[in-house]
Protein backbone atom coordinates (compact mmCIF):
# COMPACT_ATOMS: atom_id res chain seq x y z
CA UNK A 1 0.00 0.00 0.00
CA UNK A 2 1.34 3.41 -0.89
CA UNK A 3 1.24 5.51 2.21
CA UNK A 4 3.27 8.62 2.74
CA UNK A 5 4.47 8.56 6.29
CA UNK A 6 5.96 11.31 8.36
CA UNK A 7 9.64 10.94 9.09
CA UNK A 8 10.57 9.24 12.29
CA UNK A 9 7.24 7.47 12.69
CA UNK A 10 7.56 3.72 12.68
CA UNK A 11 4.96 2.12 10.51
CA UNK A 12 4.07 -0.94 12.54
CA UNK A 13 1.53 -2.19 10.01
CA UNK A 14 4.19 -2.94 7.40
CA UNK A 15 4.24 -6.62 8.22
CA UNK A 16 0.59 -6.93 9.13
CA UNK A 17 -0.89 -10.41 9.19
CA UNK A 18 -2.87 -11.24 6.07
CA UNK A 19 -6.10 -11.89 7.98
CA UNK A 20 -5.79 -8.41 9.46
CA UNK A 21 -5.46 -7.01 5.95
CA UNK A 22 -8.70 -8.75 5.01
CA UNK A 23 -10.37 -7.29 8.10
CA UNK A 24 -9.03 -3.83 7.26
CA UNK A 25 -10.58 -4.11 3.79
CA UNK A 26 -14.01 -4.58 5.37
CA UNK A 27 -13.77 -1.36 7.41
CA UNK A 28 -15.10 1.92 6.03
CA UNK A 29 -12.83 4.99 6.14
CA UNK A 30 -13.28 7.39 9.03
CA UNK A 31 -15.10 4.91 11.25
CA UNK A 32 -14.71 4.22 14.96
CA UNK A 33 -13.07 0.86 15.58
CA UNK A 34 -12.25 -1.18 18.67
CA UNK A 35 -9.73 -3.98 18.14
CA UNK A 36 -9.96 -6.57 20.91
CA UNK A 37 -6.65 -8.33 21.31
CA UNK A 38 -4.84 -5.65 19.36
CA UNK A 39 -1.36 -7.14 19.90
CA UNK A 40 1.32 -4.67 18.90
CA UNK A 41 -1.37 -2.42 17.43
CA UNK A 42 -0.61 -3.04 13.76
CA UNK A 43 -4.29 -3.11 12.71
CA UNK A 44 -5.24 0.11 14.51
CA UNK A 45 -2.12 1.83 13.23
CA UNK A 46 -2.99 0.72 9.70
CA UNK A 47 -6.60 1.87 10.04
CA UNK A 48 -5.56 5.27 11.32
CA UNK A 49 -2.89 5.83 8.69
CA UNK A 50 -4.65 4.51 5.62
CA UNK A 51 -8.31 5.14 6.42
CA UNK A 52 -8.34 7.94 8.97
CA UNK A 53 -10.20 5.74 11.44
CA UNK A 54 -10.49 6.48 15.15
CA UNK A 55 -9.11 3.06 16.01
CA UNK A 56 -8.33 1.86 19.52
CA UNK A 57 -7.19 -1.39 21.02
CA UNK A 58 -7.46 -3.50 24.12
CA UNK A 59 -4.85 -6.16 24.77
CA UNK A 60 -4.37 -8.72 27.53
CA UNK A 61 -0.55 -8.88 27.32
CA UNK A 62 0.94 -5.86 29.10
CA UNK A 63 4.23 -6.06 27.19
CA UNK A 64 2.28 -5.71 23.93
CA UNK A 65 0.24 -2.84 25.39
CA UNK A 66 3.37 -0.94 26.31
CA UNK A 67 4.86 -1.65 22.89
CA UNK A 68 1.78 -0.18 21.22
CA UNK A 69 1.67 2.89 23.49
CA UNK A 70 5.38 3.48 22.90
CA UNK A 71 4.42 3.78 19.24
CA UNK A 72 1.77 6.34 20.04
CA UNK A 73 -1.20 4.02 19.64
CA UNK A 74 -4.26 4.19 21.89
CA UNK A 75 -4.20 0.76 23.49
CA UNK A 76 -5.21 -0.24 26.98
CA UNK A 77 -4.77 -3.29 29.11
CA UNK A 78 -7.89 -5.42 29.21
CA UNK A 79 -9.56 -8.54 27.85
CA UNK A 80 -12.61 -9.61 25.89
CA UNK A 81 -14.31 -11.47 28.74
CA UNK A 82 -14.20 -8.72 31.34
CA UNK A 83 -13.75 -5.32 29.80
CA UNK A 84 -16.34 -4.96 27.05
CA UNK A 85 -19.19 -4.39 29.49
CA UNK A 86 -17.72 -0.99 30.40
CA UNK A 87 -18.32 0.58 27.01
CA UNK A 88 -21.59 2.35 26.23
CA UNK A 89 -24.00 1.04 23.58
CA UNK A 90 -23.05 1.85 20.00
CA UNK A 91 -19.69 3.40 20.94
CA UNK A 92 -18.04 1.95 17.82
CA UNK A 93 -18.85 1.32 14.18
CA UNK A 94 -16.80 -1.89 14.16
CA UNK A 95 -15.58 -4.16 16.90
CA UNK A 96 -12.85 -6.57 15.81
CA UNK A 97 -11.97 -9.89 17.42
CA UNK A 98 -9.35 -11.75 15.41
CA UNK A 99 -8.30 -15.32 16.21
CA UNK A 100 -9.41 -14.94 19.81
CA UNK A 101 -13.00 -16.18 20.02
CA UNK A 102 -11.86 -19.77 20.59
CA UNK A 103 -9.77 -18.66 23.59
CA UNK A 104 -12.30 -16.57 25.52
CA UNK A 105 -14.21 -17.86 28.54
CA UNK A 106 -17.69 -17.07 27.26
CA UNK A 107 -17.77 -16.69 23.47
CA UNK A 108 -21.53 -16.14 23.29
CA UNK A 109 -21.39 -13.29 25.83
CA UNK A 110 -18.36 -11.74 24.11
CA UNK A 111 -20.26 -11.69 20.81
CA UNK A 112 -23.29 -10.13 22.50
CA UNK A 113 -21.12 -7.41 24.01
CA UNK A 114 -19.39 -6.79 20.67
CA UNK A 115 -22.72 -6.25 18.96
CA UNK A 116 -23.97 -4.07 21.80
CA UNK A 117 -21.04 -1.67 21.76
CA UNK A 118 -20.49 -1.84 18.00
CA UNK A 119 -22.81 -1.57 15.02
CA UNK A 120 -20.86 -4.31 13.32
CA UNK A 121 -18.65 -7.16 14.57
CA UNK A 122 -15.71 -8.58 12.63
CA UNK A 123 -14.76 -12.00 13.96
CA UNK A 124 -12.08 -14.36 12.72
CA UNK A 125 -11.37 -17.81 14.16
CA UNK A 126 -9.53 -21.00 13.22
CA UNK A 127 -11.94 -23.59 11.79
CA UNK A 128 -12.01 -26.84 13.75
CA UNK A 129 -13.96 -28.47 10.91
CA UNK A 130 -10.96 -28.51 8.56
CA UNK A 131 -10.44 -31.89 6.88
CA UNK A 132 -6.99 -32.43 8.35
CA UNK A 133 -8.30 -32.17 11.90
CA UNK A 134 -11.20 -34.49 11.12
CA UNK A 135 -8.83 -36.99 9.53
CA UNK A 136 -6.34 -36.93 12.42
CA UNK A 137 -9.07 -37.51 14.97
CA UNK A 138 -10.59 -40.30 12.91
CA UNK A 139 -7.32 -42.01 12.02
CA UNK A 140 -5.25 -41.63 15.20
CA UNK A 141 -8.06 -41.31 17.72
CA UNK A 142 -6.18 -38.49 19.41
CA UNK A 143 -6.69 -34.73 19.60
CA UNK A 144 -5.51 -33.28 16.31
CA UNK A 145 -2.51 -30.98 16.07
CA UNK A 146 -1.78 -28.83 13.02
CA UNK A 147 0.08 -25.61 12.30
CA UNK A 148 -3.05 -23.65 13.24
CA UNK A 149 -3.89 -25.82 16.26
CA UNK A 150 -0.31 -26.18 17.34
CA UNK A 151 -0.56 -26.91 21.07
CA UNK A 152 -1.40 -30.13 22.89
CA UNK A 153 -4.90 -30.40 24.37
CA UNK A 154 -3.60 -29.84 27.90
CA UNK A 155 -1.65 -26.73 27.00
CA UNK A 156 -3.81 -24.96 24.49
CA UNK A 157 -5.46 -21.67 25.45
CA UNK A 158 -8.09 -22.48 22.82
CA UNK A 159 -10.78 -23.78 25.12
CA UNK A 160 -13.74 -23.15 22.82
CA UNK A 161 -12.91 -24.42 19.32
CA UNK A 162 -15.72 -24.33 16.78
CA UNK A 163 -16.36 -25.07 13.15
CA UNK A 164 -17.74 -22.73 10.49
CA UNK A 165 -21.07 -24.60 10.68
CA UNK A 166 -21.11 -24.19 14.48
CA UNK A 167 -20.59 -20.49 14.08
CA UNK A 168 -23.41 -20.15 11.57
CA UNK A 169 -25.67 -22.02 13.99
CA UNK A 170 -24.75 -19.69 16.86
CA UNK A 171 -25.44 -16.63 14.71
CA UNK A 172 -28.86 -18.00 13.85
CA UNK A 173 -29.62 -18.81 17.47
CA UNK A 174 -28.60 -15.32 18.57
CA UNK A 175 -30.35 -13.63 15.69
CA UNK A 176 -27.29 -12.07 14.08
CA UNK A 177 -27.18 -11.24 10.40
CA UNK A 178 -24.10 -12.52 8.61
CA UNK A 179 -23.29 -9.57 6.35
CA UNK A 180 -20.21 -11.17 4.85
CA UNK A 181 -18.18 -14.25 5.47
CA UNK A 182 -15.20 -15.93 3.94
CA UNK A 183 -12.92 -18.86 4.48
CA UNK A 184 -9.18 -18.33 4.54
CA UNK A 185 -6.43 -20.82 3.85
CA UNK A 186 -3.27 -21.34 5.84
CA UNK A 187 -1.44 -18.40 4.30
CA UNK A 188 -4.37 -16.15 5.06
CA UNK A 189 -5.50 -15.90 1.44
CA UNK A 190 -9.17 -15.87 0.61
CA UNK A 191 -10.34 -19.37 -0.22
CA UNK A 192 -12.84 -19.87 -3.03
CA UNK A 193 -15.53 -21.81 -1.12
CA UNK A 194 -17.68 -18.98 0.09
CA UNK A 195 -20.75 -20.16 -1.75
CA UNK A 196 -20.81 -23.60 -0.17
CA UNK A 197 -20.65 -23.73 3.62
CA UNK A 198 -19.91 -27.46 3.60
CA UNK A 199 -16.87 -27.01 1.37
CA UNK A 200 -15.63 -24.03 3.34
CA UNK A 201 -16.04 -26.00 6.55
CA UNK A 202 -13.98 -28.81 5.08
CA UNK A 203 -11.20 -26.82 3.41
CA UNK A 204 -11.05 -23.43 5.12
CA UNK A 205 -8.41 -23.24 7.84
CA UNK A 206 -9.79 -19.99 9.19
CA UNK A 207 -13.00 -18.03 8.81
CA UNK A 208 -13.81 -14.34 8.89
CA UNK A 209 -17.34 -13.09 9.59
CA UNK A 210 -18.94 -9.68 9.56
CA UNK A 211 -22.03 -9.68 11.77
CA UNK A 212 -24.84 -7.26 12.54
CA UNK A 213 -27.66 -7.39 14.97
CA UNK A 214 -30.99 -7.62 13.19
Amino acid sequence: MDVVQPEGVRYVAKNMRVDLRLIAEMIAPGSRVLDIGSGDGSLIDHLYRTKGCDARGIEIDMAEVTRAVVHGLPVMHGDADHDLAQYPDGAFDYVVLSRTLQAVERPREVLRQMLRIGRSALVSFPNFGHWLLRWQLLWTGRMPMTSVWAKAWHETPNIHPCTIRDFFALCEEEGYTVEKWLAIDEAGQKAPWTRAVGMANMFGEQALFQLKRI
Binding site: V9, R56, T66, M76, G78, P88
Partner: protein
Protein backbone atom coordinates in the same frame (compact mmCIF):
# COMPACT_ATOMS: atom_id res chain seq x y z
CA UNK B 1 -18.21 20.57 47.35
CA UNK B 2 -17.22 18.23 50.18
CA UNK B 3 -19.30 19.12 53.27
CA UNK B 4 -16.20 19.10 55.45
CA UNK B 5 -14.97 22.14 53.56
CA UNK B 6 -17.31 24.45 55.37
CA UNK B 7 -15.56 24.11 58.69
CA UNK B 8 -11.90 23.58 59.06
CA UNK B 9 -10.93 20.28 60.62
CA UNK B 10 -10.19 20.38 64.33
CA UNK B 11 -6.47 20.63 64.98
CA UNK B 12 -4.44 18.53 67.36
CA UNK B 13 -5.90 15.65 69.32
CA UNK B 14 -6.88 16.99 72.73
CA UNK B 15 -4.21 16.29 75.26
CA UNK B 16 -1.49 15.51 72.78
CA UNK B 17 -0.03 18.96 72.85
CA UNK B 18 0.19 18.93 76.64
CA UNK B 19 1.98 15.61 76.67
CA UNK B 20 4.89 16.97 74.70
CA UNK B 21 4.50 20.55 75.73
CA UNK B 22 8.01 21.19 76.91
CA UNK B 23 10.44 21.42 74.09
CA UNK B 24 13.25 18.93 74.25
CA UNK B 25 11.83 17.20 77.33
CA UNK B 26 10.40 13.98 76.01
CA UNK B 27 10.42 12.10 79.29
CA UNK B 28 10.45 8.53 78.05
CA UNK B 29 13.38 9.24 75.79
CA UNK B 30 15.29 11.68 77.97
CA UNK B 31 18.99 11.07 78.26
CA UNK B 32 18.83 8.08 76.00
CA UNK B 33 17.88 9.07 72.53
CA UNK B 34 18.42 12.79 72.21
CA UNK B 35 22.07 12.29 71.41
CA UNK B 36 21.33 10.21 68.33
CA UNK B 37 18.13 11.74 67.02
CA UNK B 38 19.18 13.08 63.69
CA UNK B 39 16.31 15.47 63.09
CA UNK B 40 17.60 18.91 64.01
CA UNK B 41 15.44 21.63 65.44
CA UNK B 42 15.44 24.36 62.88
CA UNK B 43 14.59 27.86 63.82
CA UNK B 44 14.65 29.38 60.40
CA UNK B 45 11.77 29.74 58.02
CA UNK B 46 12.09 29.08 54.28
CA UNK B 47 14.62 31.30 52.53
CA UNK B 48 13.09 34.37 50.98
CA UNK B 49 13.40 33.82 47.25
CA UNK B 50 12.06 36.04 44.53
CA UNK B 51 10.13 33.44 42.53
CA UNK B 52 8.98 34.28 39.03
CA UNK B 53 5.28 35.03 39.38
CA UNK B 54 2.21 36.69 38.02
CA UNK B 55 -0.32 38.57 40.16
CA UNK B 56 -4.05 38.56 39.48
CA UNK B 57 -5.64 41.46 41.29
CA UNK B 58 -9.10 40.10 40.64
CA UNK B 59 -8.30 37.20 42.98
CA UNK B 60 -9.95 33.81 42.90
CA UNK B 61 -13.28 32.52 44.19
CA UNK B 62 -12.65 29.25 45.99
CA UNK B 63 -14.87 26.20 46.19
CA UNK B 64 -15.39 26.72 49.93
CA UNK B 65 -17.15 30.01 49.20
CA UNK B 66 -14.34 32.27 50.41
CA UNK B 67 -12.37 34.23 47.90
CA UNK B 68 -8.76 35.28 47.68
CA UNK B 69 -8.66 39.00 47.01
CA UNK B 70 -5.31 38.77 45.30
CA UNK B 71 -3.91 35.73 43.60
CA UNK B 72 -0.22 35.19 43.07
CA UNK B 73 0.99 32.30 40.96
CA UNK B 74 4.65 31.39 40.92
CA UNK B 75 5.64 29.48 37.82
CA UNK B 76 8.45 28.41 35.53
CA UNK B 77 8.39 27.80 31.80
CA UNK B 78 10.74 25.88 29.53
CA UNK B 79 10.97 26.00 25.73
CA UNK B 80 9.25 28.36 23.31
CA UNK B 81 5.55 28.94 22.78
CA UNK B 82 4.94 28.69 19.03
CA UNK B 83 3.12 31.35 17.02
CA UNK B 84 -0.16 29.41 17.07
CA UNK B 85 0.21 28.89 20.84
CA UNK B 86 -0.58 25.25 20.27
CA UNK B 87 2.45 23.51 21.77
CA UNK B 88 1.94 24.20 25.48
CA UNK B 89 2.27 21.38 28.00
CA UNK B 90 1.14 22.01 31.55
CA UNK B 91 2.97 19.91 34.13
CA UNK B 92 1.13 19.56 37.45
CA UNK B 93 3.31 18.88 40.45
CA UNK B 94 2.57 16.46 43.28
CA UNK B 95 1.89 17.09 46.97
CA UNK B 96 5.26 18.56 47.92
CA UNK B 97 6.62 19.33 44.47
CA UNK B 98 6.91 22.78 42.99
CA UNK B 99 7.41 24.68 39.75
CA UNK B 100 11.13 23.87 39.44
CA UNK B 101 10.57 20.86 37.18
CA UNK B 102 13.67 20.84 35.05
CA UNK B 103 16.30 23.13 36.54
CA UNK B 104 18.38 23.42 39.67
CA UNK B 105 16.15 24.15 42.63
CA UNK B 106 16.83 27.61 44.10
CA UNK B 107 16.36 26.37 47.69
CA UNK B 108 17.83 22.88 47.71
CA UNK B 109 20.36 23.22 44.90
CA UNK B 110 19.19 19.80 43.64
CA UNK B 111 18.24 19.01 40.03
CA UNK B 112 14.64 19.63 38.96
CA UNK B 113 12.20 17.04 40.32
CA UNK B 114 11.27 15.72 36.89
CA UNK B 115 14.29 16.50 34.74
CA UNK B 116 14.27 12.84 33.64
CA UNK B 117 10.98 13.45 31.85
CA UNK B 118 11.13 17.14 30.95
CA UNK B 119 13.95 18.87 29.09
CA UNK B 120 15.70 18.99 25.72
CA UNK B 121 15.37 15.57 24.07
CA UNK B 122 13.41 14.19 27.04
CA UNK B 123 9.98 12.51 26.67
CA UNK B 124 8.39 15.95 27.14
CA UNK B 125 10.85 17.65 24.85
CA UNK B 126 11.36 21.33 25.64
CA UNK B 127 12.85 21.83 22.18
CA UNK B 128 9.43 21.02 20.81
CA UNK B 129 6.98 21.98 23.53
CA UNK B 130 6.42 25.00 25.75
CA UNK B 131 6.30 23.55 29.25
CA UNK B 132 4.57 25.42 32.06
CA UNK B 133 4.60 24.42 35.70
CA UNK B 134 3.17 26.51 38.51
CA UNK B 135 3.26 26.14 42.25
CA UNK B 136 -0.20 25.08 43.47
CA UNK B 137 -2.20 27.54 45.52
CA UNK B 138 -1.87 26.66 49.17
CA UNK B 139 1.79 25.84 48.47
CA UNK B 140 4.94 27.51 49.72
CA UNK B 141 7.12 28.21 46.67
CA UNK B 142 5.69 31.60 45.82
CA UNK B 143 2.04 31.02 44.99
CA UNK B 144 -0.66 32.31 47.30
CA UNK B 145 -0.74 30.09 50.37
CA UNK B 146 -0.47 30.09 54.15
CA UNK B 147 2.88 31.95 53.95
CA UNK B 148 1.37 34.78 51.92
CA UNK B 149 0.36 38.04 53.55
CA UNK B 150 -3.38 38.23 54.22
CA UNK B 151 -5.63 40.31 51.99
CA UNK B 152 -5.87 42.88 54.81
CA UNK B 153 -2.08 42.97 55.10
CA UNK B 154 -2.08 41.78 58.73
CA UNK B 155 0.67 39.15 58.74
CA UNK B 156 0.62 35.83 56.90
CA UNK B 157 -2.50 33.71 56.48
CA UNK B 158 -1.18 30.78 58.50
CA UNK B 159 -3.93 28.35 59.41
CA UNK B 160 -6.55 30.95 58.51
CA UNK B 161 -5.75 30.29 54.87
CA UNK B 162 -9.01 29.09 53.34
CA UNK B 163 -9.27 25.37 52.61
CA UNK B 164 -8.43 24.81 48.97
CA UNK B 165 -9.27 21.88 46.71
CA UNK B 166 -7.69 20.30 43.66
CA UNK B 167 -10.40 22.09 41.67
CA UNK B 168 -9.22 25.43 43.09
CA UNK B 169 -5.63 24.59 42.14
CA UNK B 170 -6.77 23.91 38.60
CA UNK B 171 -8.83 27.11 38.49
CA UNK B 172 -5.69 29.04 39.43
CA UNK B 173 -3.63 27.23 36.78
CA UNK B 174 -6.28 28.08 34.21
CA UNK B 175 -5.82 31.78 34.95
CA UNK B 176 -2.10 31.39 34.33
CA UNK B 177 -2.66 29.48 31.09
CA UNK B 178 -5.05 32.15 29.85
CA UNK B 179 -2.55 34.79 30.90
CA UNK B 180 -0.23 33.28 28.28
CA UNK B 181 -2.99 33.62 25.69
CA UNK B 182 -3.28 29.85 25.37
CA UNK B 183 -6.78 28.61 24.59
CA UNK B 184 -5.94 24.94 24.33
CA UNK B 185 -3.16 23.04 26.07
CA UNK B 186 -1.56 20.39 23.94
CA UNK B 187 -1.15 18.25 27.05
CA UNK B 188 -1.66 18.28 30.79
CA UNK B 189 0.65 15.86 32.57
CA UNK B 190 1.16 15.01 36.22
CA UNK B 191 1.71 12.25 38.76
CA UNK B 192 0.09 11.56 42.11
CA UNK B 193 -1.73 14.68 43.34
CA UNK B 194 -0.55 16.19 40.04
CA UNK B 195 -2.46 13.40 38.30
CA UNK B 196 -5.58 14.43 40.20
CA UNK B 197 -5.15 17.92 38.80
CA UNK B 198 -4.85 16.39 35.32
CA UNK B 199 -8.15 14.54 35.82
CA UNK B 200 -9.78 17.69 37.15
CA UNK B 201 -8.57 19.65 34.12
CA UNK B 202 -9.93 17.03 31.73
CA UNK B 203 -13.27 16.93 33.55
CA UNK B 204 -13.83 20.69 33.91
CA UNK B 205 -12.16 22.07 30.78
CA UNK B 206 -12.17 19.23 28.22
CA UNK B 207 -12.02 21.63 25.28
CA UNK B 208 -8.79 23.09 26.69
CA UNK B 209 -7.01 19.73 26.99
CA UNK B 210 -5.95 17.88 23.83
CA UNK B 211 -4.10 15.13 25.70
CA UNK B 212 -4.10 14.17 29.36
CA UNK B 213 -1.58 12.00 31.19
CA UNK B 214 -2.65 11.13 34.75
CA UNK B 215 0.17 9.09 36.27
CA UNK B 216 0.14 6.96 39.44
CA UNK B 217 -3.03 8.58 40.63
CA UNK B 218 -6.60 7.88 41.75
CA UNK B 219 -10.12 9.20 41.13
CA UNK B 220 -10.53 9.91 44.85
CA UNK B 221 -8.46 9.81 48.02
CA UNK B 222 -9.05 6.48 49.74
CA UNK B 223 -9.54 6.04 53.49
CA UNK B 224 -5.97 4.72 53.64
CA UNK B 225 -4.63 7.80 51.82
CA UNK B 226 -6.49 10.08 54.23
CA UNK B 227 -5.30 8.02 57.20
CA UNK B 228 -1.63 8.45 56.32
CA UNK B 229 -2.11 12.17 55.73
CA UNK B 230 -3.79 12.47 59.10
CA UNK B 231 -0.81 10.87 60.87
CA UNK B 232 1.38 13.51 59.24
CA UNK B 233 -0.90 16.33 60.26
CA UNK B 234 -1.11 15.08 63.84
CA UNK B 235 2.69 14.98 64.00
CA UNK B 236 2.74 18.66 63.07
CA UNK B 237 -0.05 19.57 65.51
CA UNK B 238 1.78 17.71 68.30
CA UNK B 239 4.99 19.69 67.86
CA UNK B 240 4.97 22.44 70.52
CA UNK B 241 6.73 24.67 68.02
CA UNK B 242 3.68 24.56 65.82
CA UNK B 243 2.12 27.06 68.24
CA UNK B 244 -1.39 26.72 66.81
CA UNK B 245 0.02 27.50 63.41
CA UNK B 246 1.36 30.95 64.37
CA UNK B 247 4.98 29.85 64.45
CA UNK B 248 6.20 32.87 62.54
CA UNK B 249 5.58 34.93 65.67
CA UNK B 250 8.38 33.24 67.62
CA UNK B 251 10.57 32.29 64.70
CA UNK B 252 10.62 28.65 65.86
CA UNK B 253 9.15 26.34 63.25
CA UNK B 254 7.62 22.90 63.93
CA UNK B 255 10.53 21.14 62.31
CA UNK B 256 10.22 17.86 64.21
CA UNK B 257 6.53 17.53 63.49
CA UNK B 258 7.00 18.33 59.82
CA UNK B 259 9.95 15.94 59.58
CA UNK B 260 7.93 13.09 61.13
CA UNK B 261 5.06 13.87 58.72
CA UNK B 262 7.52 13.55 55.86
CA UNK B 263 8.98 10.32 57.22
CA UNK B 264 5.57 8.68 57.38
CA UNK B 265 4.64 9.96 53.93
CA UNK B 266 7.97 8.84 52.51
CA UNK B 267 7.32 5.24 53.58
CA UNK B 268 4.13 5.32 51.52
CA UNK B 269 6.09 6.49 48.48
CA UNK B 270 8.33 3.42 48.57
CA UNK B 271 7.70 -0.30 48.59
CA UNK B 272 8.78 -3.15 50.80
CA UNK B 273 10.93 -4.52 47.97
CA UNK B 274 12.64 -1.19 47.44
CA UNK B 275 13.33 -0.74 51.16
CA UNK B 276 14.70 -4.27 51.42
CA UNK B 277 16.85 -3.82 48.34
CA UNK B 278 18.25 -0.47 49.50
CA UNK B 279 18.62 -1.02 53.24
CA UNK B 280 17.63 -4.50 54.34
CA UNK B 281 18.36 -4.81 58.07
CA UNK B 282 21.76 -3.17 57.87
CA UNK B 283 22.86 -1.29 60.96
CA UNK B 284 25.39 1.46 60.97
CA UNK B 285 27.69 2.67 63.77
CA UNK B 286 26.60 2.44 67.37
CA UNK B 287 27.72 0.26 70.24
CA UNK B 288 26.07 -3.03 70.95
CA UNK B 289 23.35 -3.22 73.57
CA UNK B 290 22.56 0.48 73.59
CA UNK B 291 18.93 0.44 72.64
CA UNK B 292 18.83 3.49 70.41
CA UNK B 293 22.45 4.18 69.62
CA UNK B 294 22.42 1.69 66.79
CA UNK B 295 20.83 3.07 63.72
CA UNK B 296 19.25 0.90 61.10
CA UNK B 297 20.15 2.35 57.74
CA UNK B 298 16.49 2.72 56.90
CA UNK B 299 16.03 4.90 60.00
CA UNK B 300 18.96 7.07 59.05
CA UNK B 301 17.56 7.42 55.53
CA UNK B 302 14.12 8.42 56.77
CA UNK B 303 15.54 10.95 59.21
CA UNK B 304 17.54 12.46 56.41
CA UNK B 305 14.40 12.66 54.27
CA UNK B 306 12.53 14.28 57.16
CA UNK B 307 15.14 16.85 58.06
CA UNK B 308 15.94 17.89 54.50
CA UNK B 309 12.23 18.36 53.80
CA UNK B 310 11.95 20.88 56.62
CA UNK B 311 14.39 23.14 54.82
CA UNK B 312 12.13 23.47 51.80
CA UNK B 313 8.57 23.18 53.00
CA UNK B 314 6.17 25.09 55.22
CA UNK B 315 4.16 23.17 57.83
CA UNK B 316 0.91 25.08 57.28
CA UNK B 317 1.24 24.57 53.52
CA UNK B 318 1.67 20.85 54.20
CA UNK B 319 -1.56 20.86 56.22
CA UNK B 320 -3.38 22.77 53.48
CA UNK B 321 -2.27 20.63 50.56
CA UNK B 322 -2.71 17.26 52.25
CA UNK B 323 -6.26 18.37 53.07
CA UNK B 324 -6.86 19.36 49.44
CA UNK B 325 -5.76 15.87 48.38
CA UNK B 326 -8.05 14.27 50.99
CA UNK B 327 -11.04 16.24 49.68
CA UNK B 328 -10.44 14.96 46.16
CA UNK B 329 -13.29 12.84 44.83
CA UNK B 330 -13.85 13.64 41.18
CA UNK B 331 -17.05 11.62 40.81
CA UNK B 332 -18.76 13.51 43.64
CA UNK B 333 -18.89 16.61 41.47
CA UNK B 334 -20.69 14.56 38.81
CA UNK B 335 -23.44 12.94 40.84
CA UNK B 336 -21.25 10.04 41.96
CA UNK B 337 -20.72 8.79 38.40
CA UNK B 338 -17.11 9.10 37.29
CA UNK B 339 -18.11 8.39 33.69
CA UNK B 340 -20.11 11.61 33.70
CA UNK B 341 -16.89 13.54 34.34
CA UNK B 342 -15.61 12.48 30.91
CA UNK B 343 -18.75 12.12 28.80
CA UNK B 344 -18.31 13.55 25.32
CA UNK B 345 -14.62 14.21 25.96
CA UNK B 346 -12.40 14.36 22.89
CA UNK B 347 -9.26 14.42 25.01
CA UNK B 348 -6.77 11.60 24.42
CA UNK B 349 -5.86 9.98 27.73
CA UNK B 350 -2.85 7.96 28.77
CA UNK B 351 -3.06 6.38 32.21
CA UNK B 352 0.10 5.03 33.78
CA UNK B 353 0.42 2.99 36.97
CA UNK B 354 3.28 1.08 38.60
CA UNK B 355 3.10 -2.50 39.86
CA UNK B 356 4.57 -1.82 43.31
CA UNK B 357 2.69 1.43 43.99
CA UNK B 358 0.47 0.72 46.98
CA UNK B 359 -0.39 4.37 47.66
CA UNK B 360 -2.28 4.78 44.38
CA UNK B 361 -2.38 1.17 43.17
CA UNK B 362 -3.09 0.03 39.62
CA UNK B 363 -6.68 -0.82 40.61
CA UNK B 364 -7.35 2.91 41.01
CA UNK B 365 -5.99 3.72 37.56
CA UNK B 366 -8.08 0.85 36.24
CA UNK B 367 -11.16 2.44 37.80
CA UNK B 368 -10.37 5.64 35.90
CA UNK B 369 -9.84 3.61 32.72
CA UNK B 370 -13.23 1.92 33.19
CA UNK B 371 -14.93 5.29 33.60
CA UNK B 372 -13.18 6.63 30.50
CA UNK B 373 -14.28 3.56 28.53
CA UNK B 374 -17.80 4.11 29.83
CA UNK B 375 -17.61 7.59 28.35
CA UNK B 376 -16.17 6.13 25.10
CA UNK B 377 -13.10 8.32 25.53
CA UNK B 378 -9.79 7.65 23.82
CA UNK B 379 -7.65 5.80 26.38
CA UNK B 380 -4.22 4.27 26.54
CA UNK B 381 -3.40 2.51 29.79
CA UNK B 382 -0.10 0.95 30.78
CA UNK B 383 1.03 -0.58 34.02
CA UNK B 384 4.80 -0.37 34.35
CA UNK B 385 6.71 -3.15 36.09
CA UNK B 386 8.74 -1.55 38.87
CA UNK B 387 9.71 -2.32 42.46
CA UNK B 388 10.18 1.34 43.36
CA UNK B 389 6.69 1.99 44.68
CA UNK B 390 4.78 5.21 44.14
CA UNK B 391 7.97 7.21 43.68
CA UNK B 392 8.68 5.27 40.47
CA UNK B 393 7.07 8.02 38.42
CA UNK B 394 9.82 10.42 39.49
CA UNK B 395 12.67 7.97 38.98
CA UNK B 396 14.61 6.41 36.14
CA UNK B 397 12.03 4.05 34.64
CA UNK B 398 12.98 3.66 30.96
CA UNK B 399 9.82 1.75 30.05
CA UNK B 400 7.64 4.51 31.51
CA UNK B 401 9.64 7.19 29.75
CA UNK B 402 9.37 5.33 26.44
CA UNK B 403 5.60 5.05 26.85
CA UNK B 404 5.30 8.72 27.79
CA UNK B 405 7.44 9.77 24.83
CA UNK B 406 5.45 7.53 22.46
CA UNK B 407 2.09 8.77 23.67
CA UNK B 408 3.15 12.42 23.44
CA UNK B 409 4.60 11.88 19.96
CA UNK B 410 1.45 10.09 18.79
CA UNK B 411 -0.74 12.90 20.12
CA UNK B 412 1.47 15.55 18.53
CA UNK B 413 0.88 13.81 15.21
CA UNK B 414 -2.89 13.80 15.77
CA UNK B 415 -2.76 17.46 16.83
CA UNK B 416 -0.82 18.32 13.68
CA UNK B 417 2.14 19.69 15.61
CA UNK B 418 5.41 19.78 13.67
Amino acid sequence: MPPALQSRAAPALPGTAAAVATRGARPHMAGCINAVVAIPDMDTALPDIDHQRVVFDDGLMLECGQSLGRLEIAYRTYGQLNAERSNAVLVCHALTGDQYVAETHPVTGKPGWWDMAVGPGRPIDTERFFVICSNVIGGCMGSTGPLTRRDDGEGPWGTDFPPVTVKDMVAAQRKLVEHFGITRLFAVVGGSVGGMQVLQWAANFPEMVFAAVPIATAPYHSAQNIAFNEVGRQAIFADPDWQSGRYWETGRIPSRGLAVARMVAHITYLSEEALTRKFGRRVRGGQALTAFADLFEVESYLRHQGSSFVGRFDANAYLTITRAADYFDLAEEFGGDLRAAFRGSRTRFCLVSFTSDWLYPTAESRAIARALNGAAANVSFVEIESDKGHDAFLLDEPEFHRALRGFIAGCAEHAGLP
